[in-house]
């Protein structure tokens, strides 16, 4: 196991070194100084500047300027010939757009987008959700959550009408509270536990427990961790369960513990057929007492006697 770690560290360091040195001596040509000023823009676009009054992009504070976002050769050409389109951050490639916005908004949210957010990989960037000139909602969003998210992720809307669901449509929970890559915080980068997203609200199950339920801490798969048992958006089953927890099979547990009716597992005779798993394995999220997540009171009942069950 240790050798795996050493190899990975070497791969990591080698990758950084290779990428850095391969381009180390490439020179970047200096750009031509521009003669444009904001006043040039204002000659024709004063109405646009007026619409920004009171927003963080208002020029009055001199912290932003028209050319802060629209600078470039296309804008210079647009001044000479208004029929030519100027630099429009809403139309250029996502990584460039992100670079424009991160000139000021260099926060974790922007870095997420830049690094690994699927929105960016789909050529969407800041302007897909935010509108500097026409955003009317908090954060200059083009619409409020969840309507903004559903405008693209229409297929998720039905999840939130399932018999049990997270109250997103009801306005209690926002998409961005779980999908932290679009949240205005850096929390995503901080390890607070194996199930960090869910336990932000469901803290009672966060543990850590001396005896974890392996499924609950295994986040190595696309639907790992809490999602092994719970459908996060909505489910036809109670408690957002991905499979029904009903007799005789208790399919939820049988996903991994193939013991429908208990006949299939040598540790469970037919005498327990139809009995809910949680009658004995009470601490399904993790136990302070025993590895099999059993109810400690079973000891008093004699179940743990030598020759029978050992916790």
């Amino acid at each position: 196991m240790g050798s795996v770690r050493r190899i990975l560290i070497l791969v990591f360091l080698a990758a950084i070194g290779a990428v850095s040195t391969a381009f180390m001596f490439q020179a970047t040509p200096p750009s031509e100084p521009s003669t444009l000023t904001d006043e040039t823009c204002m000659d024709c676009h004063e109405d646009v500047a007026h619409a920004l009054i009171g927003t963080a992009h208002d020029r009055a504070g001199n912290k932003v300027s028209c050319l802060g976002c629209h600078a470039g050769a296309a804008t210079e050409a647009h001044v000479d010939d208004p029929d030519l389109k100027p630099v429009n951050p809403g139309r250029i490639r996502a990584d460039s757009l992100t670079a424009v916005c991160t000139t000021c908004h260099e926060d974790a949210h922007a870095l997420n987008l830049y690094e690994r957010d699927p929105h960016e990989n789909a050529d969407l960037a800041c302007a897909a959700c935010h509108s500097v000139h026409a955003g009317t909602h908090v954060g200059l969003l083009v619409d409020e959550e969840p309507a903004l998210c559903f405008s693209c992720h229409a297929g998720k809307k039905a999840d939130f009408t399932m018999p049990t669901h997270h109250p997103v449509i009801e306005g209690v929970v926002k998409c961005s509270e779980c999908h932290t890559s679009v949240a205005q915080s850096a929390k995503q980068h901080v390890v607070t536990g194996p199930s960090e997203t869910c336990v932000q609200c469901h803290a009672g199950f966060a543990g850590p427990y001396p005896f974890e339920h392996q499924a609950a801490v295994d986040y190595s798969t696309e639907q790992g961790g809490c999602l092994n048992c719970h459908a996060p958006h909505g489910s036809p089953n109670p408690r957002l369960l991905v499979q029904p927890y009903q007799p005789p099979d208790y399919a939820l547990c049988s996903q991994c513990h193939a013991v429908p009716g208990h006949q299939s597992n040598i540790n469970h005779g037919t005498q327990w057929a139809g009995v809910p798993c949680s009658d004995c394995h009470v601490d399904v999220h993790g136990s302070y007492d025993n590895q099999k997540l059993l109810d400690p009171s079973l000891s008093a009942q004699g179940c743990f006697a030598v020759g029978c069950h050992t916790p």
Binding site: R116, Q243, D249
Partner: protein
């Protein structure tokens, strides 16, 4: 009622800044008075949409949005302020200098058919951020989340080992500072803390803290190379149980665009968790390589990833493959995407329950806007998860389609506008293992018609219908009708009528004869809106 502090703060700010209001001051807002009348029958625990509808009359909406002067703006939005189910958001901002935000919400969850077994979650959150210099951003957050009420076991007739009540408090706080130089070098330092207390079971009490740092460094000699490095260390402990976890992460992302159409990305992620109680350590390592190339309106993307989870009992390795082609019309008339990803895991020491797994997901999506009035689209996705060593397989097929039509006709007397939309979604989920199978098929239809007549009368009618078949048999529908009449430009009266229905035709498997629910709810409101523009 702690929400009143928001009102007091708002009033103080209003009074303080009124003197500095200038000609750029603009305000809009509205206040609505009214309430709901509810008639319901059946199992109250099956229709979440009605959990937070409370009878009674009061202030159903208070909304204020505007600015005192060129730099200072205020936003306040509150619902049901003096009845249960209240919610409010507050945002005061001095552009480029400071921002104070607060949010409060409460929600009720019902567990039993009679509605007498329930629990309420309340959440207070506040954040203050300062930008004393253009290159420096400092912020602090505090969140308190409480849960009070009844707790039930599941299935409903079993005794829960978790107790019969909730009395928990979750406190979280965070301070961070972000700085950035003119050359693009940036960094963040953050400290996160959490404290969870369970008044009914002290074993659950938990404290934790994490210190983290992020550095964002453009390539020193290469303009098109960017490095992002992150690291964090933290500790989590259960004081009563004497359990302590130590955690650390390191992340690196390098993004290189050697020339315009091509971009290369490498990501490394390492995490380690040490459990002092069991002396066990878990390490996680990820290496991802991605490339994307743009040609005209198309983006071609491909990636490969290799991961390892290494703990004291097992080593599991993963290989990920992904590819996608995305096409976006420059004028947004259409867009489409075809994507496929695969993830294979190998249990190197044959120790985990699931053993080796294979995941695959494919998706085709198409959206089109053939004219300004029409937009249509659809998506088909298929996902499989196989665990061959335990003989289990799950497959999910999801398909969706939508169409929207917007009509607008203007005359001198005003504009008549309408929007018609329809969505259809289908899902088929199958699960098989060596001894049994489970299948659920669901269809969901939603449609709505909205009409606005000269900004005087607006009407909305909508329907949501969900049908679940297979090993479950559930029907659910929500019908909604709304009429809003505006008079004297600033006043309006609104009536809304919703019908909720839920039927579970396999009620014998659940809770006897309580497998249905029906409710009729009427909302009546009058409102006053103003705008200084």
């Amino acid at each position: 009622m702690r929400i009143w502090w928001l009102w007091i703060l708002t009033s103080a700010v209003l009074a303080n800044t009124q003197a500095r209001a200038d000609s750029t001051s603009v305000w809009e807002g509205n206040i609505r008075l009214g309430g709901a009348i509810e008639d319901e029958e059946g199992d109250r625990s099956v229709m979440q949409e009605t959990f937070n509808i409370h009878e009674g009359f009061g202030i159903t909406k208070l909304h204020l949005n505007g600015r005192f002067n060129r730099n200072t703006s205020l936003y306040f939005d509150g619902d049901n302020l003096n009845v249960d189910g209240r919610r409010a958001t507050f945002d005061l901002r001095q552009a480029g200098i400071a921002r104070l935000r607060s949010r409060y919400d409460e929600s009720l969850f019902i567990y039993d058919p009679s509605g007498s077994v329930d629990a309420t979650r309340r959440d207070w959150w506040s954040s203050l951020s300062l930008t004393p210099k253009k290159w420096l951003w400092v912020s602090g957050d505090y969140d308190l989340q409480t849960r009070r009420g009844d707790r039930v076991g599941y299935p409903n007739d079993v005794q829960s080992a978790l107790g019969t009540a909730y009395e928990t408090d979750l406190n979280r706080w965070r301070v961070d500072a972000q700085a950035r130089s003119a050359s693009g070098i940036g960094g963040t330092f953050a400290y996160d803390g959490v404290s969870f207390t369970d008044a009914l079971d002290a074993r659950n009490d938990r404290d934790g803290s994490v210190f983290s740092a992020i550095a964002h460094v453009p390539g020193v000699f290469i303009k098109r190379l960017t490095h992002v490095v992150r690291g964090s260390v933290g500790k989590s402990e259960l004081p009563t149980a004497g359990i302590e976890y130590d955690m650390a992460t390191i992340q690196y992302t390098g993004i290189l665009a050697p020339w315009r159409p091509l971009r290369l990305k490498y990501r490394f992620y390492g995490m380690t968790v040490d459990d002092d109680a069991t002396a066990m350590q878990t390490d996680r390592w990820i290496n991802d390589f991605d490339a994307d190339y743009r040609w005209r309106s198309a983006i071609f993307a491909a990636g490969y990833g290799w991961e390892a989870w290494d703990d004291d009992r097992s080593v599991t390795t993963y290989e990920n493959y992904r590819g996608a082609i995305t096409v976006n019309h420059p004028d947004q008339k259409y867009s489409g995407r075809i994507a496929y990803s695969q993830r294979d895991s190998e249990d190197e020491e044959d120790q985990t329950l699931l053993k080796d797994t294979e995941y695959a997901r494919g998706e085709i999506r198409l959206d089109a806007r053939p004219s300004g009035a029409w937009s249509v689209g659809g998506r088909v996705a298929d996902r499989t998860r196989k665990m061959p060593d335990i003989g289990a397989e799950a497959e999910g097929l999801a398909a969706s389609a939508y169409a929207r039509y917007t009509y607008s006709h203007s005359r001198e007397s005003g504009t008549i506008a309408s929007t018609v939309s329809a969505d259809y979604q289908y899902a088929d989920d199958d699960y098989d293992n060596r001894v049994g199978e489970y299948q659920v098929e669901s269809q969901f239809v939603t449609g709505s018609v909205e009409v606005d007549f000269r900004k005087m009368i607006s009407a909305v009618a909508s329907v949501h219908y969900l049908d679940i078949e297979g090993d479950l048999d559930i029907e659910k529908s929500i019908l909604s009708f709304e009429l809003d009449c505006t008079f004297r430009k600033s006043f309006d009266a609104r009536v809304k009528y919703n019908v909720y229905n839920y039927d579970d035709y396999l009620i014998a498997d659940y809770s006897g004869d309580e497998g249905y629910y029906t409710a009729n709810v009427v909302w009546i409101e009058v409102g006053y809106a103003f705008s200084t523009e």
